[in-house]
Protein backbone atom coordinates (compact mmCIF):
# COMPACT_ATOMS: atom_id res chain seq x y z
CA UNK A 1 0.00 0.00 0.00
CA UNK A 2 2.67 2.43 0.97
CA UNK A 3 4.72 1.34 -2.03
CA UNK A 4 1.80 2.02 -4.34
CA UNK A 5 1.29 5.37 -2.71
CA UNK A 6 4.91 6.31 -3.27
CA UNK A 7 4.74 5.22 -6.90
CA UNK A 8 1.62 7.28 -7.55
CA UNK A 9 3.27 10.32 -5.96
CA UNK A 10 6.34 9.77 -8.10
CA UNK A 11 4.33 9.49 -11.34
CA UNK A 12 2.59 12.71 -10.40
CA UNK A 13 5.92 14.49 -9.87
CA UNK A 14 7.43 13.12 -13.09
CA UNK A 15 4.52 14.32 -15.18
CA UNK A 16 4.60 17.69 -13.50
CA UNK A 17 8.18 18.08 -14.71
CA UNK A 18 7.34 16.72 -18.19
CA UNK A 19 4.43 19.15 -18.65
CA UNK A 20 6.53 22.02 -17.34
CA UNK A 21 9.25 21.15 -19.88
CA UNK A 22 6.58 21.27 -22.61
CA UNK A 23 5.58 24.81 -21.65
CA UNK A 24 9.24 25.70 -21.25
CA UNK A 25 9.85 24.43 -24.78
CA UNK A 26 7.30 26.88 -26.18
CA UNK A 27 8.89 29.72 -24.21
CA UNK A 28 12.42 28.80 -25.31
CA UNK A 29 11.37 28.70 -28.97
CA UNK A 30 9.72 32.10 -28.67
CA UNK A 31 12.81 33.51 -26.97
CA UNK A 32 15.10 31.99 -29.62
CA UNK A 33 12.95 33.37 -32.43
CA UNK A 34 12.88 36.89 -31.02
CA UNK A 35 16.57 36.85 -30.15
CA UNK A 36 17.56 35.47 -33.56
CA UNK A 37 15.51 38.00 -35.52
CA UNK A 38 16.35 41.04 -33.41
CA UNK A 39 20.07 40.26 -33.27
CA UNK A 40 20.23 39.94 -37.08
CA UNK A 41 17.67 42.65 -37.73
CA UNK A 42 19.60 45.62 -36.41
CA UNK A 43 22.86 44.88 -38.22
CA UNK A 44 21.80 46.45 -41.51
CA UNK A 45 18.96 48.63 -40.29
CA UNK A 46 19.50 52.36 -40.65
CA UNK A 47 17.26 55.30 -41.49
CA UNK A 48 17.65 54.47 -45.17
CA UNK A 49 15.85 51.18 -44.58
CA UNK A 50 12.64 53.17 -44.01
CA UNK A 51 13.13 55.76 -46.75
CA UNK A 52 14.48 53.53 -49.57
CA UNK A 53 12.60 51.38 -52.00
CA UNK A 54 13.66 47.81 -52.70
CA UNK A 55 17.00 47.41 -54.46
CA UNK A 56 19.21 44.86 -56.14
CA UNK A 57 21.91 45.90 -53.69
CA UNK A 58 21.16 44.60 -50.19
CA UNK A 59 22.70 47.62 -48.44
CA UNK A 60 20.34 49.96 -50.33
CA UNK A 61 17.19 47.83 -50.02
CA UNK A 62 14.44 49.45 -47.98
CA UNK A 63 10.91 48.70 -46.87
CA UNK A 64 9.25 52.01 -47.84
CA UNK A 65 7.04 50.47 -50.53
CA UNK A 66 5.85 47.71 -48.20
CA UNK A 67 5.29 50.07 -45.30
CA UNK A 68 3.09 52.39 -47.37
CA UNK A 69 1.40 49.46 -49.10
CA UNK A 70 0.48 47.90 -45.76
CA UNK A 71 -0.74 51.29 -44.51
CA UNK A 72 -3.00 51.75 -47.54
CA UNK A 73 -4.36 48.21 -47.65
CA UNK A 74 -5.00 47.94 -43.90
CA UNK A 75 -6.24 51.54 -43.66
CA UNK A 76 -8.88 50.82 -46.27
CA UNK A 77 -9.68 47.41 -44.80
CA UNK A 78 -10.40 48.74 -41.29
CA UNK A 79 -13.69 50.59 -41.96
CA UNK A 80 -14.94 47.92 -44.39
CA UNK A 81 -14.33 45.08 -41.95
CA UNK A 82 -15.47 46.92 -38.85
CA UNK A 83 -18.81 47.97 -40.31
CA UNK A 84 -19.71 44.65 -41.97
CA UNK A 85 -18.38 42.54 -39.10
CA UNK A 86 -20.21 44.44 -36.38
CA UNK A 87 -23.40 44.66 -38.44
CA UNK A 88 -23.38 40.90 -39.01
CA UNK A 89 -22.79 40.23 -35.32
CA UNK A 90 -25.68 42.56 -34.37
CA UNK A 91 -27.98 40.83 -36.84
CA UNK A 92 -27.09 37.35 -35.59
CA UNK A 93 -27.27 38.23 -31.90
CA UNK A 94 -30.12 40.75 -31.80
CA UNK A 95 -32.34 40.34 -34.86
CA UNK A 96 -32.05 36.88 -36.34
CA UNK A 97 -34.86 34.50 -35.37
CA UNK A 98 -33.97 31.13 -33.93
CA UNK A 99 -34.44 28.83 -36.89
CA UNK A 100 -32.59 26.45 -39.17
CA UNK A 101 -31.52 29.21 -41.56
CA UNK A 102 -29.84 31.23 -38.81
CA UNK A 103 -28.10 28.09 -37.55
CA UNK A 104 -26.87 27.47 -41.08
CA UNK A 105 -25.49 31.02 -41.35
CA UNK A 106 -23.66 30.60 -38.04
CA UNK A 107 -22.26 27.23 -39.11
CA UNK A 108 -21.15 28.81 -42.36
CA UNK A 109 -19.24 31.56 -40.53
CA UNK A 110 -17.53 29.01 -38.27
CA UNK A 111 -16.45 27.07 -41.37
CA UNK A 112 -15.24 30.20 -43.17
CA UNK A 113 -12.83 30.80 -40.28
CA UNK A 114 -11.22 27.43 -41.02
CA UNK A 115 -10.65 27.89 -44.76
CA UNK A 116 -6.94 28.32 -45.64
CA UNK A 117 -6.03 31.94 -46.33
CA UNK A 118 -4.59 31.12 -49.74
CA UNK A 119 -8.08 30.11 -50.93
CA UNK A 120 -9.30 33.60 -50.05
CA UNK A 121 -6.52 34.81 -52.32
CA UNK A 122 -7.96 32.71 -55.16
CA UNK A 123 -11.39 34.19 -54.45
CA UNK A 124 -9.90 37.70 -54.51
CA UNK A 125 -8.10 36.97 -57.78
CA UNK A 126 -11.19 35.62 -59.50
CA UNK A 127 -13.80 38.03 -58.11
CA UNK A 128 -12.12 41.36 -57.35
CA UNK A 129 -9.13 41.36 -59.70
CA UNK A 130 -10.74 39.76 -62.74
CA UNK A 131 -14.55 39.74 -62.62
CA UNK A 132 -15.02 43.19 -61.05
CA UNK A 133 -12.02 44.48 -62.97
CA UNK A 134 -10.34 46.13 -59.99
CA UNK A 135 -6.94 44.87 -61.14
CA UNK A 136 -4.14 44.12 -58.70
CA UNK A 137 -5.02 47.23 -56.74
CA UNK A 138 -5.00 48.34 -53.12
CA UNK A 139 -8.80 48.11 -53.18
CA UNK A 140 -8.77 44.48 -54.37
CA UNK A 141 -6.20 43.63 -51.66
CA UNK A 142 -8.26 45.34 -48.95
CA UNK A 143 -11.45 43.54 -49.97
CA UNK A 144 -9.65 40.18 -50.06
CA UNK A 145 -8.21 40.68 -46.57
CA UNK A 146 -11.60 41.90 -45.34
CA UNK A 147 -13.28 38.66 -46.38
CA UNK A 148 -10.43 36.71 -44.76
CA UNK A 149 -10.69 38.27 -41.29
CA UNK A 150 -14.46 38.86 -41.32
CA UNK A 151 -15.37 35.49 -39.70
CA UNK A 152 -12.97 36.17 -36.80
CA UNK A 153 -14.31 39.70 -36.34
CA UNK A 154 -17.93 38.47 -36.43
CA UNK A 155 -17.40 35.71 -33.87
CA UNK A 156 -15.54 37.94 -31.41
CA UNK A 157 -18.12 40.74 -31.81
CA UNK A 158 -20.91 38.21 -31.20
CA UNK A 159 -19.24 37.15 -27.97
CA UNK A 160 -18.87 40.78 -26.95
CA UNK A 161 -22.57 41.49 -27.58
CA UNK A 162 -23.61 38.35 -25.73
CA UNK A 163 -21.65 39.40 -22.65
CA UNK A 164 -23.65 42.61 -22.16
CA UNK A 165 -25.82 42.09 -19.05
CA UNK A 166 -29.51 41.59 -19.65
CA UNK A 167 -30.34 44.14 -16.95
CA UNK A 168 -28.96 46.93 -19.17
CA UNK A 169 -31.31 45.99 -22.02
CA UNK A 170 -34.27 45.70 -19.71
CA UNK A 171 -33.54 49.12 -18.24
CA UNK A 172 -33.46 50.56 -21.76
CA UNK A 173 -36.75 48.91 -22.74
CA UNK A 174 -38.17 50.07 -19.43
CA UNK A 175 -37.46 53.66 -20.40
CA UNK A 176 -39.47 53.17 -23.58
CA UNK A 177 -36.63 52.69 -26.07
CA UNK A 178 -37.34 50.50 -29.07
CA UNK A 179 -35.20 47.59 -30.20
CA UNK A 180 -32.78 49.50 -32.43
CA UNK A 181 -32.42 52.35 -29.92
CA UNK A 182 -31.53 49.81 -27.27
CA UNK A 183 -28.99 48.08 -29.50
CA UNK A 184 -27.42 51.27 -30.81
CA UNK A 185 -27.34 53.38 -27.64
CA UNK A 186 -27.03 50.81 -24.86
CA UNK A 187 -25.79 47.40 -25.99
CA UNK A 188 -23.25 48.54 -28.60
CA UNK A 189 -21.43 51.14 -26.45
CA UNK A 190 -21.25 48.67 -23.61
CA UNK A 191 -19.78 45.95 -25.85
CA UNK A 192 -17.47 48.29 -27.76
CA UNK A 193 -14.23 47.71 -25.77
CA UNK A 194 -14.55 43.93 -26.26
CA UNK A 195 -15.40 44.35 -29.91
CA UNK A 196 -12.34 46.60 -30.33
CA UNK A 197 -10.04 44.06 -28.64
CA UNK A 198 -11.10 41.29 -31.02
CA UNK A 199 -10.98 43.67 -33.95
CA UNK A 200 -7.44 44.87 -33.26
CA UNK A 201 -6.23 41.26 -33.03
CA UNK A 202 -7.89 40.57 -36.38
CA UNK A 203 -6.14 43.62 -37.88
CA UNK A 204 -2.79 42.39 -36.66
CA UNK A 205 -3.50 39.04 -38.30
CA UNK A 206 -4.27 40.81 -41.57
CA UNK A 207 -1.04 42.82 -41.38
CA UNK A 208 0.98 39.59 -41.20
CA UNK A 209 -0.91 37.82 -44.01
CA UNK A 210 1.17 37.08 -47.09
CA UNK A 211 -0.27 34.18 -49.07
CA UNK A 212 -3.65 35.65 -50.12
CA UNK A 213 -2.03 38.86 -51.37
CA UNK A 214 0.64 36.99 -53.35
CA UNK A 215 -2.17 34.87 -54.76
CA UNK A 216 -4.26 37.83 -55.90
CA UNK A 217 -1.17 39.23 -57.57
CA UNK A 218 0.35 41.89 -55.32
CA UNK A 219 3.80 42.70 -56.65
CA UNK A 220 7.05 41.56 -55.05
CA UNK A 221 9.44 44.21 -56.34
CA UNK A 222 7.94 47.69 -56.13
CA UNK A 223 9.66 51.05 -56.63
CA UNK A 224 6.79 53.38 -55.73
CA UNK A 225 4.23 54.07 -53.02
CA UNK A 226 0.53 53.81 -53.91
CA UNK A 227 -1.11 57.19 -54.53
CA UNK A 228 -4.69 55.99 -54.62
CA UNK A 229 -6.80 52.90 -53.99
CA UNK A 230 -6.58 51.75 -57.60
CA UNK A 231 -2.76 51.64 -57.64
CA UNK A 232 -0.77 48.45 -57.47
CA UNK A 233 1.17 47.77 -54.28
CA UNK A 234 3.26 45.44 -52.17
CA UNK A 235 3.08 44.86 -48.40
CA UNK A 236 5.75 44.29 -45.74
CA UNK A 237 5.37 40.48 -45.40
CA UNK A 238 5.65 40.07 -49.18
CA UNK A 239 8.87 42.06 -49.20
CA UNK A 240 10.23 39.90 -46.38
CA UNK A 241 9.24 36.77 -48.30
CA UNK A 242 10.94 38.11 -51.40
CA UNK A 243 14.15 38.82 -49.49
CA UNK A 244 14.24 35.32 -47.98
CA UNK A 245 14.08 33.85 -51.47
CA UNK A 246 17.05 35.85 -52.84
CA UNK A 247 20.40 34.06 -53.06
CA UNK A 248 22.70 36.81 -51.68
CA UNK A 249 23.32 36.14 -48.01
CA UNK A 250 23.12 39.83 -47.07
CA UNK A 251 19.43 39.66 -47.92
CA UNK A 252 19.05 37.35 -44.94
CA UNK A 253 19.87 40.34 -42.75
CA UNK A 254 17.58 42.61 -44.76
CA UNK A 255 14.75 40.10 -44.27
CA UNK A 256 15.50 40.14 -40.53
CA UNK A 257 15.31 43.94 -40.49
CA UNK A 258 11.91 43.76 -42.20
CA UNK A 259 10.75 41.13 -39.69
CA UNK A 260 11.80 43.38 -36.80
CA UNK A 261 9.68 46.25 -38.16
CA UNK A 262 6.72 43.92 -38.74
CA UNK A 263 7.02 42.30 -35.29
CA UNK A 264 7.28 45.66 -33.50
CA UNK A 265 4.08 46.87 -35.18
CA UNK A 266 2.29 43.63 -34.24
CA UNK A 267 3.54 43.73 -30.64
CA UNK A 268 2.32 47.32 -30.34
CA UNK A 269 -1.14 46.33 -31.62
CA UNK A 270 -1.19 43.30 -29.33
CA UNK A 271 -0.28 45.55 -26.40
CA UNK A 272 -3.06 47.98 -27.35
CA UNK A 273 -5.60 45.14 -27.42
CA UNK A 274 -4.43 43.86 -24.03
CA UNK A 275 -4.58 47.40 -22.62
CA UNK A 276 -8.17 47.92 -23.79
CA UNK A 277 -9.21 44.55 -22.41
CA UNK A 278 -7.56 45.32 -19.06
CA UNK A 279 -8.85 48.89 -18.85
CA UNK A 280 -12.48 48.11 -19.63
CA UNK A 281 -12.78 44.64 -18.12
CA UNK A 282 -16.00 44.21 -16.18
CA UNK A 283 -14.82 42.71 -12.95
Amino acid sequence: MSDLHKRRKRTDKIFKVVFLIFIGLALVVLAALIFDIFSKGFIMMDWGFFTNFDSRFPEKAGIKAGLFGTLYVIGLMIPITFITGTATAIYLEEYAPKNKLTDLIKLNIANLAGIPSIIYGMLGLAVFVRTLGLGRSVLAGSLTLSLLVLPVVIVSAQEALRSVPKSLRNASYGLGANHWQTVYKVVLPSALPSIMTGFILAISRAIGETAPLIMMGALTFVMFTPQGIMDSFTVMPIQIFNWTSLPKTEYELVAASGSVVLLLILFALNGLATFIRYKFSRD
Binding site: L25, D36, Y91, I105, L112, S117, L123, L150, G208, I214
Partner: protein
Protein backbone atom coordinates in the same frame (compact mmCIF):
# COMPACT_ATOMS: atom_id res chain seq x y z
CA UNK B 1 -53.23 35.24 -49.47
CA UNK B 2 -50.43 37.42 -50.81
CA UNK B 3 -50.05 39.06 -47.46
CA UNK B 4 -49.79 35.69 -45.77
CA UNK B 5 -47.06 34.56 -48.13
CA UNK B 6 -45.06 37.71 -47.50
CA UNK B 7 -45.23 37.35 -43.75
CA UNK B 8 -44.02 33.79 -44.13
CA UNK B 9 -40.67 34.56 -45.69
CA UNK B 10 -40.38 37.59 -43.48
CA UNK B 11 -40.72 35.48 -40.38
CA UNK B 12 -37.99 33.17 -41.62
CA UNK B 13 -35.49 36.02 -41.64
CA UNK B 14 -36.69 38.19 -38.77
CA UNK B 15 -37.88 37.52 -35.29
CA UNK B 16 -41.68 37.54 -34.85
CA UNK B 17 -41.36 39.66 -31.74
CA UNK B 18 -39.44 42.32 -33.64
CA UNK B 19 -41.91 42.20 -36.49
CA UNK B 20 -44.56 43.16 -34.03
CA UNK B 21 -42.50 46.11 -32.89
CA UNK B 22 -41.82 47.09 -36.48
CA UNK B 23 -45.41 47.92 -37.05
CA UNK B 24 -44.87 50.87 -34.74
CA UNK B 25 -41.57 52.03 -36.10
CA UNK B 26 -40.47 52.04 -39.71
CA UNK B 27 -36.90 52.77 -38.57
CA UNK B 28 -36.55 49.21 -37.35
CA UNK B 29 -37.51 47.96 -40.76
CA UNK B 30 -34.61 49.29 -42.78
CA UNK B 31 -32.19 48.52 -39.97
CA UNK B 32 -33.20 44.88 -40.36
CA UNK B 33 -32.47 44.90 -44.05
CA UNK B 34 -29.10 46.61 -43.78
CA UNK B 35 -27.92 44.22 -41.08
CA UNK B 36 -29.16 41.25 -43.07
CA UNK B 37 -27.30 42.55 -46.12
CA UNK B 38 -24.04 42.59 -44.16
CA UNK B 39 -24.72 39.05 -42.95
CA UNK B 40 -25.31 37.85 -46.49
CA UNK B 41 -21.71 38.81 -47.40
CA UNK B 42 -20.51 35.79 -45.42
CA UNK B 43 -22.95 33.55 -47.27
CA UNK B 44 -21.81 34.95 -50.62
CA UNK B 45 -18.17 34.38 -49.63
CA UNK B 46 -18.79 30.67 -49.22
CA UNK B 47 -20.83 30.46 -52.42
CA UNK B 48 -18.16 32.46 -54.26
CA UNK B 49 -15.34 30.19 -53.11
CA UNK B 50 -17.19 27.05 -54.17
CA UNK B 51 -18.29 28.46 -57.53
CA UNK B 52 -14.81 29.71 -58.42
CA UNK B 53 -12.94 26.59 -57.37
CA UNK B 54 -15.39 24.30 -59.16
CA UNK B 55 -15.82 26.34 -62.34
CA UNK B 56 -12.08 26.83 -62.90
CA UNK B 57 -11.32 23.22 -61.99
CA UNK B 58 -13.74 22.08 -64.70
CA UNK B 59 -11.39 23.56 -67.32
CA UNK B 60 -8.57 21.56 -65.78
CA UNK B 61 -10.50 18.31 -65.57
CA UNK B 62 -11.57 18.70 -69.19
CA UNK B 63 -7.97 17.91 -70.15
CA UNK B 64 -6.74 15.82 -67.23
CA UNK B 65 -8.94 13.02 -65.96
CA UNK B 66 -9.88 13.09 -62.29
CA UNK B 67 -8.48 9.59 -61.89
CA UNK B 68 -5.11 10.58 -63.34
CA UNK B 69 -5.11 13.65 -61.09
CA UNK B 70 -5.95 11.76 -57.90
CA UNK B 71 -3.84 8.65 -58.45
CA UNK B 72 -0.87 9.89 -60.48
CA UNK B 73 2.45 9.76 -58.68
CA UNK B 74 4.27 12.35 -60.77
CA UNK B 75 3.59 16.08 -60.51
CA UNK B 76 5.39 17.95 -63.24
CA UNK B 77 3.05 20.64 -64.58
CA UNK B 78 5.50 23.45 -65.34
CA UNK B 79 8.45 22.04 -67.25
CA UNK B 80 8.20 20.70 -70.81
CA UNK B 81 8.33 17.97 -71.96
CA UNK B 82 6.72 15.13 -70.02
CA UNK B 83 4.18 17.25 -68.22
CA UNK B 84 2.16 15.16 -65.80
CA UNK B 85 -0.52 15.97 -63.32
CA UNK B 86 -0.58 13.37 -60.57
CA UNK B 87 -1.35 15.21 -57.35
CA UNK B 88 -0.12 12.51 -54.94
CA UNK B 89 3.39 13.98 -54.43
CA UNK B 90 1.81 17.27 -53.33
CA UNK B 91 -0.65 15.44 -51.06
CA UNK B 92 2.22 13.42 -49.61
CA UNK B 93 4.21 16.61 -48.98
CA UNK B 94 1.24 18.17 -47.21
CA UNK B 95 0.69 15.01 -45.17
CA UNK B 96 4.35 14.91 -44.08
CA UNK B 97 4.28 18.51 -42.87
CA UNK B 98 0.93 17.94 -41.18
CA UNK B 99 2.01 14.73 -39.48
CA UNK B 100 5.30 16.23 -38.33
CA UNK B 101 3.69 19.34 -36.93
CA UNK B 102 0.91 17.36 -35.23
CA UNK B 103 3.51 15.11 -33.55
CA UNK B 104 4.97 18.25 -32.00
CA UNK B 105 1.91 20.36 -31.31
CA UNK B 106 -0.48 17.71 -29.97
CA UNK B 107 1.55 16.24 -27.07
CA UNK B 108 3.21 19.55 -26.18
CA UNK B 109 -0.09 21.41 -26.48
CA UNK B 110 -2.14 18.97 -24.42
CA UNK B 111 0.62 18.64 -21.81
CA UNK B 112 0.89 22.41 -21.49
CA UNK B 113 -2.90 22.74 -21.20
CA UNK B 114 -2.96 20.10 -18.44
CA UNK B 115 -0.15 21.89 -16.63
CA UNK B 116 -1.98 25.20 -16.84
CA UNK B 117 -5.29 23.83 -15.56
CA UNK B 118 -4.09 21.25 -13.01
CA UNK B 119 -0.61 22.12 -11.75
CA UNK B 120 0.04 25.79 -12.34
CA UNK B 121 -0.47 28.68 -9.93
CA UNK B 122 -2.83 31.44 -11.01
CA UNK B 123 0.08 33.85 -11.24
CA UNK B 124 2.06 31.60 -13.62
CA UNK B 125 -1.05 31.23 -15.78
CA UNK B 126 -1.48 35.01 -15.93
CA UNK B 127 2.09 35.37 -17.19
CA UNK B 128 1.85 32.53 -19.73
CA UNK B 129 -1.40 33.61 -21.40
CA UNK B 130 -0.12 36.86 -22.97
CA UNK B 131 3.10 35.11 -24.03
CA UNK B 132 1.05 32.50 -25.88
CA UNK B 133 -0.89 35.31 -27.55
CA UNK B 134 2.40 36.74 -28.81
CA UNK B 135 3.36 33.32 -30.17
CA UNK B 136 -0.05 33.10 -31.87
CA UNK B 137 0.38 36.55 -33.42
CA UNK B 138 3.72 36.00 -35.13
CA UNK B 139 3.26 36.14 -38.92
CA UNK B 140 3.87 32.89 -40.77
CA UNK B 141 6.42 34.53 -43.04
CA UNK B 142 8.55 35.19 -39.94
CA UNK B 143 8.18 31.55 -38.87
CA UNK B 144 9.27 30.50 -42.34
CA UNK B 145 12.32 32.74 -42.14
CA UNK B 146 13.12 31.32 -38.69
CA UNK B 147 12.85 27.74 -40.02
CA UNK B 148 15.12 28.46 -42.99
CA UNK B 149 17.79 30.56 -41.28
CA UNK B 150 17.79 29.21 -37.72
CA UNK B 151 16.11 25.82 -37.24
CA UNK B 152 17.80 24.15 -40.23
CA UNK B 153 21.39 25.50 -39.92
CA UNK B 154 21.65 25.95 -36.13
CA UNK B 155 19.57 23.07 -34.71
CA UNK B 156 19.12 20.38 -37.35
CA UNK B 157 22.41 20.46 -39.26
CA UNK B 158 24.53 19.51 -36.24
CA UNK B 159 22.22 16.52 -35.63
CA UNK B 160 21.66 15.47 -39.27
CA UNK B 161 24.70 16.57 -41.31
CA UNK B 162 23.14 15.27 -44.55
CA UNK B 163 20.11 17.55 -44.23
CA UNK B 164 19.36 19.79 -47.22
CA UNK B 165 18.85 23.56 -47.08
CA UNK B 166 15.17 23.14 -47.88
CA UNK B 167 13.64 20.24 -45.97
CA UNK B 168 10.35 18.96 -44.63
CA UNK B 169 11.60 18.67 -41.04
CA UNK B 170 12.30 22.35 -40.36
CA UNK B 171 8.99 23.33 -41.93
CA UNK B 172 7.17 20.70 -39.81
CA UNK B 173 8.75 22.05 -36.66
CA UNK B 174 7.84 25.65 -37.53
CA UNK B 175 4.26 24.71 -38.43
CA UNK B 176 4.07 22.74 -35.17
CA UNK B 177 5.11 25.84 -33.22
CA UNK B 178 2.63 27.94 -35.17
CA UNK B 179 -0.37 25.75 -34.32
CA UNK B 180 0.74 25.14 -30.72
CA UNK B 181 -0.98 28.21 -29.16
CA UNK B 182 -4.23 27.14 -30.80
CA UNK B 183 -4.01 23.59 -29.36
CA UNK B 184 -3.13 24.94 -25.91
CA UNK B 185 -5.88 27.54 -25.71
CA UNK B 186 -8.66 25.33 -27.15
CA UNK B 187 -7.67 22.31 -25.01
CA UNK B 188 -7.49 24.55 -21.97
CA UNK B 189 -10.98 25.89 -22.69
CA UNK B 190 -12.23 22.31 -22.97
CA UNK B 191 -10.59 21.31 -19.67
CA UNK B 192 -11.95 24.42 -17.94
CA UNK B 193 -15.47 23.63 -19.07
CA UNK B 194 -15.52 20.45 -16.95
CA UNK B 195 -17.48 21.33 -13.78
CA UNK B 196 -15.39 22.05 -10.71
CA UNK B 197 -17.46 19.53 -8.69
CA UNK B 198 -16.20 16.63 -10.82
CA UNK B 199 -12.59 17.68 -10.31
CA UNK B 200 -13.06 18.20 -6.57
CA UNK B 201 -14.79 14.83 -6.32
CA UNK B 202 -11.74 13.14 -7.83
CA UNK B 203 -9.41 14.94 -5.44
CA UNK B 204 -11.64 13.94 -2.52
CA UNK B 205 -11.09 10.29 -3.48
CA UNK B 206 -7.39 10.86 -2.85
CA UNK B 207 -6.29 11.09 -6.49
CA UNK B 208 -3.02 12.78 -7.37
CA UNK B 209 -3.08 15.71 -9.80
CA UNK B 210 -1.88 13.48 -12.64
CA UNK B 211 -4.64 10.95 -11.95
CA UNK B 212 -7.25 13.70 -11.87
CA UNK B 213 -5.95 15.03 -15.18
CA UNK B 214 -5.50 11.71 -16.98
CA UNK B 215 -8.45 9.75 -15.63
CA UNK B 216 -11.10 12.40 -15.00
CA UNK B 217 -10.43 15.74 -16.68
CA UNK B 218 -9.12 14.64 -20.08
CA UNK B 219 -11.78 11.93 -20.58
CA UNK B 220 -14.51 14.39 -19.55
CA UNK B 221 -13.23 17.05 -21.93
CA UNK B 222 -12.27 14.62 -24.70
CA UNK B 223 -14.65 15.93 -27.36
CA UNK B 224 -13.34 19.47 -26.98
CA UNK B 225 -9.74 18.30 -26.93
CA UNK B 226 -10.08 16.09 -30.01
CA UNK B 227 -11.88 18.83 -31.90
CA UNK B 228 -9.03 21.22 -31.08
CA UNK B 229 -6.54 18.69 -32.49
CA UNK B 230 -8.53 18.39 -35.71
CA UNK B 231 -8.81 22.16 -36.10
CA UNK B 232 -5.06 22.48 -35.60
CA UNK B 233 -4.40 19.77 -38.21
CA UNK B 234 -6.68 21.55 -40.63
CA UNK B 235 -4.73 24.76 -40.02
CA UNK B 236 -1.45 22.91 -40.68
CA UNK B 237 -2.78 21.55 -43.98
CA UNK B 238 -3.64 25.05 -45.16
CA UNK B 239 -0.41 26.68 -43.97
CA UNK B 240 1.35 28.28 -46.89
CA UNK B 241 4.22 30.68 -46.22
CA UNK B 242 6.24 28.48 -43.86
CA UNK B 243 6.32 25.63 -46.36
CA UNK B 244 6.86 27.97 -49.31
CA UNK B 245 9.97 29.37 -47.61
CA UNK B 246 11.44 26.40 -45.75
CA UNK B 247 10.22 23.15 -47.33
CA UNK B 248 11.43 23.77 -50.86
CA UNK B 249 9.64 23.59 -54.18
CA UNK B 250 10.32 20.05 -55.30
CA UNK B 251 7.27 17.79 -55.59
CA UNK B 252 8.43 14.27 -54.88
CA UNK B 253 7.09 11.16 -53.24
CA UNK B 254 9.35 10.62 -50.27
CA UNK B 255 9.17 9.80 -46.60
CA UNK B 256 12.52 11.43 -45.90
CA UNK B 257 12.04 14.49 -43.73
CA UNK B 258 15.56 15.73 -44.50
CA UNK B 259 14.73 16.29 -48.17
CA UNK B 260 12.77 19.09 -49.82
CA UNK B 261 9.10 18.49 -50.56
CA UNK B 262 6.32 20.54 -52.05
CA UNK B 263 2.86 20.87 -50.51
CA UNK B 264 -0.43 21.71 -52.19
CA UNK B 265 -0.25 25.26 -50.86
CA UNK B 266 3.42 25.56 -51.85
CA UNK B 267 2.54 24.70 -55.44
CA UNK B 268 -0.24 27.30 -55.59
CA UNK B 269 2.19 29.99 -54.37
CA UNK B 270 4.87 28.90 -56.83
CA UNK B 271 2.49 29.25 -59.77
CA UNK B 272 1.12 32.60 -58.63
CA UNK B 273 4.66 33.98 -58.27
CA UNK B 274 5.58 32.99 -61.80
CA UNK B 275 4.10 34.46 -64.96
CA UNK B 276 1.69 31.72 -65.88
CA UNK B 277 -0.69 32.96 -68.58
CA UNK B 278 -4.34 33.09 -67.54
CA UNK B 279 -6.31 30.34 -69.19
CA UNK B 280 -3.44 27.89 -69.53
CA UNK B 281 -3.63 24.42 -68.07
CA UNK B 282 -1.05 25.38 -65.41
CA UNK B 283 -3.24 28.29 -64.40
CA UNK B 284 -6.30 26.06 -64.01
CA UNK B 285 -4.27 23.41 -62.18
CA UNK B 286 -3.97 25.66 -59.11
CA UNK B 287 -7.77 25.75 -58.86
CA UNK B 288 -7.93 21.95 -59.00
CA UNK B 289 -5.32 21.75 -56.23
CA UNK B 290 -7.17 24.52 -54.38
CA UNK B 291 -10.43 22.60 -54.64
CA UNK B 292 -8.79 19.50 -53.15
CA UNK B 293 -7.29 21.62 -50.37
CA UNK B 294 -10.66 23.24 -49.69
CA UNK B 295 -12.49 19.90 -49.51
CA UNK B 296 -9.83 18.45 -47.22
CA UNK B 297 -9.88 21.31 -44.70
CA UNK B 298 -13.67 21.72 -44.91
CA UNK B 299 -14.29 18.06 -44.10
CA UNK B 300 -11.88 18.22 -41.15
CA UNK B 301 -13.67 21.33 -39.83
CA UNK B 302 -17.05 19.66 -40.19
CA UNK B 303 -15.78 16.52 -38.43
CA UNK B 304 -14.45 18.68 -35.61
CA UNK B 305 -17.82 20.43 -35.18
CA UNK B 306 -19.64 17.12 -35.41
CA UNK B 307 -17.50 15.63 -32.63
CA UNK B 308 -18.16 18.68 -30.46
CA UNK B 309 -21.92 18.42 -30.94
CA UNK B 310 -22.27 14.66 -30.84
CA UNK B 311 -19.99 13.78 -27.97
CA UNK B 312 -20.23 16.84 -25.80
CA UNK B 313 -20.95 15.92 -22.23
CA UNK B 314 -23.79 18.06 -20.98
CA UNK B 315 -23.42 19.00 -17.35
CA UNK B 316 -26.17 20.47 -15.24
Amino acid sequence: MKNNKESNWYSILFDKKIRHMNSKSSQNNWVNYILLLATLISVFTTVGIIVILVSDSIHFFAEVSIIEFLTGIKWNPLIEPNKSYGVLPLVAGTMMITLGSALIAIPVGLGSAIYLTEYSSTRFRKIIKPIMEILAGIPTVVYGYFALTFITPQILEPIFPQIQTFNALSASIAVGIMILPMVISLSEDALNSVPESIRQGAYAMGSTRFEVASKVMVPSALSGIVSSFILAISRAIGETMIVAIAAGMRPQLTANFLKPVQTMTGYIVQVSLGDTPVGSLEYYSIFAVGLLLFLLTLSLNIISQWILMKYREVYH
